[in-house]
Amino acid sequence: MSTLATTEIETDQPKTVPAGADSTRRRSIGRVIAWIVMIAIMIFTLAPFYWIVRTALSSNAAILAHPATPWPVGFSLDSFKRVFGWQTGDAAIAAGGSGQSINFWLYLRNSIIVACLVTVGQVFFSAMAAYAFSRLRWRLRGPVFAIFLAGLMVPSIFTLLPNFVLIKQIGLIDTLPGIALPTMLMSPFAIFFLRQFFLTVSREVEEAALIDGASKVMIFFRLIIPMSVAPITTLAVLTYITSWNDYFWPLMVSYTDSSRVLTVALAVFKSQTPNTGPDWAGLMAATLVAALPMLILFMVFARRIVNSIGFSGIK
């Protein structure tokens, strides 16, 4: 496809005719309209985030009176106090909260533990497998890799129920390892992603290391991993975010505070607020606090994440 395209350019390139002034002006008007559309899309994308902040900084009573005021109304940090559990039960109920104590720090800790277990495990074990699939020579390499790739096709819904039964049978229900285990050992995508990069490490460098007496294991740790720091970091950040945001599986596995992660806690927090007068300020404060770590991570690694997106589509 691309070869076809390049030949066409070569044949068409020479006959450069200056474009009329009229058409340039029309195009620049088009550009202005295009920019307006683009900026409108960006505003729509970001507006909900602004509304989270605006609501979280307001007081519930003032929101009732001024639901459409564009800035925070009845400015108050009480909703954050409610989320962090720094407010007494009575004060929380008075502000429209549930009055239940919220173990925010516990949920945060749980989310961090699960996301770290999944990320470190999945990236490391997938890197090992990717090394075997890219740099080691063994007879069934091709067919076994094809089977792993086929695993990409299995929709997660299908493995969730049987996996729940399995986790229950091995007694890991309502534990953090129980949440982490199914995704901790590998993901077909991670193996595929890293294999692509490991394949690009030059044979000559590897040969030289072998001649110097390095073993294949040392080559993996001393050569392949250091040379692939960039893709490994990208994969790790993406895995961390995915694991942090996961909801369905932790919802199935955890029942008590001891294993509740932030996403599940957030949904529970919502279901506990009174239906008659929901604690919107508190809910938005909790939402902001739950989303903030990933938004910060994104700002730090934006370039890597954004540039890696194309990879999953093009393959």
Partner: protein, 312 residues
């Protein structure tokens, strides 16, 4: 992979004829087995085994407390006569059509605009932001923004004289609303996939077309769309498969209501398993979803291939 094997063989062959000490062709089978062991265990225990077990459970009566009891095709018979299942399938398809339709068109517009206007990382970052927050966060924000009484959307509609809309409480609105919530969350991601595809189209093609006096619109239909078709098809497969598994948004916002208006398949499966502890029947429903996804993948795969041969 074949080409990689071929290039890999060259240095080995060269070194065997030269002064290099290693002559034998390396065989790393033992080491390779050790290196793939953890991933293989994960793959078999948490992917292959559940796949087999899920199919087995779909033929059983199983409530988690007592051992699964084989009951043949009973669950499948029940499913075919279950009006809630058919409604769930209908609602899910409705959701997928709205979600994918709006999302793909909007993503295409964003991707083309970005390609023609800016390569800015900031712009791409902004578009991607909703993708970085969880479905739960997205659902909660939208629940607030689209609230019937106090939500800003209905307040603004009120200013121009439109009666409040029960986005999550009116059975007519609930599926389109959930679809739009997920469009907000995923459209940037889809746009960046398409944008990556656009980058593979040589810019010279557009230069040449412009010299020939082609308009933006005709360039879009004559150059962009035909060359993008294989990638667009792939993006569609990914997003349709994801879209069929909608759960988080429904679980946080409506829990399947009002009545069954938003009881999508995956929520029905969850409800059957964890609300009513009918794991056998829930597994049968999951098999049905799997079959639907396989059929769609197959059809799309065929269509993609047809599209590619069309191009050459």
């Amino acid at each position: 992979m074949a080409s990689e094997l071929a290039t890999g063989a060259v240095p080995t062959a060269r070194s065997s004829t030269g002064t290099a000490p290693r002559r034998r062709r390396p065989d790393d089978t033992k080491l390779a087995l050790i290196f793939i062991a953890p991933a293989a265990i994960g793959f078999i225990v948490f992917l292959i085994w559940p796949l087999i077990r899920g199919i087995y459970l779909s033929f059983t009566k199983f409530n988690l407390l007592t051992p699964a009891e084989f009951n043949g095709l009973d669950n499948y018979r029940r499913m075919l006569l279950d009006p809630v299942f058919w409604n769930a399938l209908k609602v899910t398809v409705e959701y997928v059509v709205i979600n994918i339709g709006v999302q793909t068109i909007l993503a295409l517009v964003i991707a083309v605009l970005m390609q023609r206007l800016t390569r800015s990382l900031v712009a791409r970052g902004i578009i991607l932001t909703p993708y970085l927050v969880s479905n739960v966060v997205a659902a909660l924000v939208m629940l607030w923004i689209l609230d019937t009484g106090l939500g800003i959307t209905n307040q603004l509609l009120g200013f121009i004289g439109i009666d409040p809309i029960g986005f999550f409480t009116d059975s007519k609105w609930v599926i389109p609303t959930i679809a739009m919530v997920n469009v907000w969350r995923y459209v940037g991601y889809t746009a960046l996939l398409i944008f990556a595809g656009l980058q593979t189209i040589p810019p010279g093609l557009y230069e040449a077309a412009r010299v020939d006096g082609a308009s933006e619109l005709s360039m879009f239909f004559r150059i962009t769309m035909p060359l993008l078709r294989p990638i667009l098809a792939l993006v569609l497969i990914i997003s349709i498969i994801g879209s069929f598994q909608v759960f988080d948004t429904v679980s946080v916002t409506t829990q399947g209501g009002p009545v069954n208006a938003s009881r999508v398949l995956q929520y029905y499966i969850y409800d059957m398993a964890f609300g009513r502890f009918q794991f056998g029947y829930a597994s049968t429903l999951a098999v049905a979803l799997l079959v639907v996804l396989m059929v769609i993948t197959f059809i799309q795969y065929r269509m993609t291939r047809a599209g590619q041969t069309d191009l050459d």
